[in-house]
Subunit: 249 residues, 2 copies
């Protein structure tokens, strides 16, 4: 792993509301060799005096930030996404500390992009937003005051990412498909949409419960870190179900 692996990691902030935080985040990103900041529907001005005050010599990271209208747009082209959360009840998957999960963002082919997603200062990430991530990081903290400031949480994660490019890296306990690369997030999203359509059609899902039930399937398949051929196999089943229903003798 090298600095170039860092250059393929996006820091994605969903609806950030604090300009001071934006500035601090730009600075720590540049400190730690990260360049690509993506703001999803930002609620504050990255060009404000407060943002520039905290960015100091990282105004270029602020100015170069990409603005996205939605999280899927922010993740477009990414193959791996980790969400940061403290919401243990919101997801069935285990939360991991940064040291355990973050190497997975860097152990990628040189053509793949990764994302580390942070929620808003006030609300964190919604259940819907968590659906787009394959793994979930929670920064260990004291039960007396568990909630970190957004910029501090980003700092801890950027620091850990940078460490991974500096020292000899421990073997990441990762289990993506050995022979195949992980499917892109857009590819997975297309599969989930297809799955939902078919499950509604066969009467397994009802419209009013589809979202929560689909969340469970998303978690399950995200955990498996599907490859492109695997997604293709799964979609093949869906097409065949359609065919079997249409062609029942």
């Amino acid at each position: 792993m090298s600095d170039t692996a860092l250059s393929r990691v996006r820091i994605v902030l969903v609806e950030p509301a604090g300009a001071l935080n934006l500035g601090s985040i730009a600075r720590i990103m540049k400190n730690m060799g990260l360049r690509h900041l993506v703001l999803v529907n930002p609620q504050c001005d990255r060009t404000s005096e407060e943002a520039r005050r905290m960015a100091v010599h990282a105004a270029d990271v602020l100015e170069g930030a990409t603005i996205a209208a939605s999280l899927p747009e922010a993740l477009s082209g990414c193959h791996r996404a980790i969400a940061t959360t403290t919401r243990t009840r919101a997801i069935a998957t285990a939360l991991e500390p940064p040291k355990a999960a973050l190497p997975w963002l860097l152990n990628t082919p040189s053509t793949e992009h990764s994302a580390l997603i942070f929620g808003s200062e006030e609300h964190g990430l919604s259940n819907e937003a968590l659906n787009y991530a394959q793994r979930f990081v929670c920064i260990p903290s004291s039960s007396e005051y568990a909630s970190l400031n957004l910029a501090q949480a980003v700092a801890v994660c950027c620091y850990e990412l940078y460490q991974l490019t500096q020292a000899p890296v421990q073997s990441a306990v990762s289990s993506p498909p050995a022979e195949d690369a992980i499917a892109a997030i857009d590819t997975l999203e297309d599969y989930y949409q297809h799955l939902e359509t078919v499950l509604l059609k066969i009467g397994y899902l009802y419209p009013h419960t589809a979202t929560s039930r689909m969340e469970k399937f998303r978690r399950l398949f995200n955990r498996a870190a599907l490859s492109d051929p695997e997604v293709a196999m799964l979609r093949g089943i869906l097409r065949q179900i359609d065919w079997a229903i249409e062609n029942k003798s």
Copy 2:
């Protein structure tokens, strides 16, 4: 090492000038189980609106901070002190990364206090101040922009200190949902048999290629470490496919 070891570590800030930083530092300290903040000749007001704004629920750490007139006074009663610096030329001793040096602050008899010293935003620590430390920490950072914001530097060190008091955690890549146990192998086998039957029925599998194709699905689902409720959901889909084919209007 335990949380009580953390309670004997002082965070010492020499002539801090930014009230926002003070507030952020109080917050991350409380997040990471640290309580004892010492301000040497502070150049800003810890009770200001800016400090409180960033401290949020750590106003108690701000209010409980000790004010000292000099660094020796701040270190009174301490047995171990580490200074943070980027000034490689100022000291003969080697600079260490946080991971290497910080455990030394916690590996102390229960009667001993330790200190981690940070300089001012503008000037860092003077040569004279460095004289009071036994070891020297430098947070690794990019040569493109090496200087961290004071509060971010404190955050990284507090985070590392807190990690040291937590049990080592292993990665949970393929681990099952936290609250559910991984399904028994028999349960999985029943699912795979059921899946194969349905896939043959809908014409997705052909008898002569079923085994090799099913191997791919087995690998995919085994990797996800399915729980019992998840297997039940997946079998529910299979039953519903059967139903949809039989009841096609």
